[in-house]
Amino acid sequence: MFRSIKQWCIGALSTVFVVGAFDSFAQVDGGALFKAKCATCHSPHKDGTGPKLFKVREKWASEGAKEGSIYLWVANWNAAAAADPYAKKVSGLKSTAMNTFPDLAGKTEEIDAIFNWVDEQPDPAAAVATGDAGAGAGAVGEVEEDGLSWVWILMGVVFAVIIMAVGGVRRQLRNATREHEGHAVNDELSFGQEFKAWAWKYKRYVGLGGLVIVMSLIVSLFLSLYSIGVLEDYQPSQPIEFPHDIHAGKNGIDCKYCHNSADNGKTAGIPTVNVCMNCHKQINGNTPEQQEKIAKIYAAAGYDPATQKYSGKTKEIIWNKVHVLPDHVYFNHQQHVVAGQVDCKQCHGDMTKMNETAKVQPVSELNKIEGNVPLTKATLTMGWCIECHAEKEISSGSLDSKGSNYYNEIHNRLLKDRKLYNKFLEDKKITVKELGGWECAKCHY
């Protein structure tokens, strides 16, 4: 059902586009003009720096503007405001003054082409409203999957109750038969004694079963000991469920635009709200879920999307740190990103496809990514770090090719010690480890 409506919508939209395209081929290309001159501040259906332009000619006419004053306005709003009281009123709507376009003065045909193009644009908000319910259904499925382990526990409890009840009934029945046959009722045998007798009778099976249980307990004990201090799969809840795939994947925003200090600081940095607002000042979300999330950004920035003004009353968004290292480890992003030229995905996985909140990716997931150095130890453990230091090559050719002063210096010193250099090159590669990446004091001091 949804699919058919969606298809119909797409069909309708493309028809509109095709018709629009034919129209604009016939005259001046209004779309191109709009993009070149107006789009920075105006959009067809959304108020931005300037007001929305959908059916603006009709709006001006119906609200009592002088005829033709809108064309004058587009070329030079100052002149229009002086000549027409309605235009004067409009000039007070926005705090940012409009640019003047002397090249459009008197070009009624071109201005009309722009407005025609704008009026043909379908409202994206209306298109989204139909395809909305599908996303909601997906979310419900996820919730069910999440509660699965609780179903198991509940079933276990129910089973236990049934077993107890059946045991009780059986016991009463047996007593009843004994009574019926004239034997003495054997009531003093408790459950424990009964179990003892039963266990003795089947001692071979019970012994075998006991051995299996003890062994599995020991194994699970050791496994749980191994998992102490291992952060794999850690995915703390966040104040806003941030979808990395939309930002870094679909919209192609570089990791380092938001995680701005990755190439000049110890931490990669969590973006401040003003960085969010660089785009979200305009983008307020298509679906209700998106709008709800983005409203949290507006609340933090003290921004009112209705009046498009900042109030200055800000509050913090408190994100939970995901990749936590003990404080006896020194880790520096700049060192890895700039000097080491390590790609973000080596440690953080492919965030362009990550729809959930950020998590510590297990090493098995990291190994699936093309270009990553394959590792075996758990993510964020010391074994994982030094394994990579032993594997990761500084460069396949000369050390100079990395263009980093750090390695150039090491290279220059190495050239004076050919013996060591040749030893390093025995396996045809120079690794971080060979240049001191396994020195304790590199990370612990």
């Binding site: 105006h42 720096t49 003047t100 526990i153 276990g156 089947y202 102490i228 785009c279 913090e316």
Partner: protein
């Protein structure tokens, strides 16, 4: 009896499985020596509400990464050429920038004309000089790297306003950089404090980086920009477009 044993075995297997599968993504797991994870030494983005078992309500749910005090100047080393390009920006944001761009942390210009400082910025010249082909190439390479990270997603690879965000339909109206008709000082001002829909990028880029980007953007407008002829003279003229400072209110 055998049935009972079977049921018991089944139950224990189910219970074990349930115990194994229940993992709370919100929990970081068992830590040994938790004080090593939340030590008293201050690191950014760590919650210091609890340190070594001591609860401190004042620091609970408060970030430890702080904005530097007002008027603090970052230390940029002792290379006078670098320090010179990184001294605080002398132009103030316009009267309305607090409301339109949220710039409450700055002293605003008191001039009645909201665009006064922007107009004045037209006179500013880029302190990074393209003195030779080598210097120019280095600046353009740096500019390209910065552009990829900070500008590309909206303004597009070629500065045509067709970045991936615009193509995906998420954002409309990124400025066409190759067709800009503003002076380089105004480009700097716009990147630093924002303009129209674009927010301020002063928190993301330092002054040297912004001036590097200005060089890179001018290359979109003039292919010859930053190239030198056989005699080593500049092959580009002054800005091809006339700077129109009267365009604004």
């Amino acid at each position: 009896m055998k049935v009972k044993f079977k049921a018991f075995a089944q139950f224990s297997v189910v219970a074990l499985l349930a115990a194994a599968c229940t993992s709370d993504p919100d929990s970081a797991g068992l830590e040994y020596m938790p004080d090593m994870y939340r030590s008293p030494a201050v690191e950014p983005y760590v919650d210091y509400g609890e340190v070594r078992g001591q609860i401190n309500d004042e620091f609970k749910m408060r970030r430890s990464a702080m904005v530097p005090p007002r008027y603090a100047i970052p230390y940029w080393g002792t290379d006078s050429a670098t320090v010179h390009t990184l001294l605080p920006y002398h132009r103030m944001p316009g009267r309305l920038f607090a409301e339109t761009h949220g710039l409450y942390q700055y002293d605003l210009s008191s001039n009645e004309d909201a665009d006064y400082e922007y107009k004045m910025a037209a006179a500013d010249v880029n302190p990074l000089k393209l003195t030779s082909q080598e210097v120019a190439d280095k600046i353009f390479a740096e500019g390209k790297a910065l552009y990829q990270v900070n500008c590309n997603h909206c303004h597009g690879e070629k500065g045509d306003g067709e970045g991936p965000m615009v193509k995906s339909g998420a954002y409309t109206g990124a400025a066409v950089l190759s067709g800009l008709t503003i002076a380089e000082g105004q480009m700097f001002y716009s990147i630093y404090y924002g303009k129209g829909m674009m927010g301020a990028h002063a928190s993301l880029l330092n002054k040297k980086e912004i001036w590097t980007l200005v060089h890179y953007v001018r290359k979109f407008q003039d292919q010859k920009y930053g190239t030198f002829d056989a005699n080593g003279a500049q092959a580009w003229g002054t800005m091809a477009v006339a700077v129109d400072t009267t365009a604004k209110k």
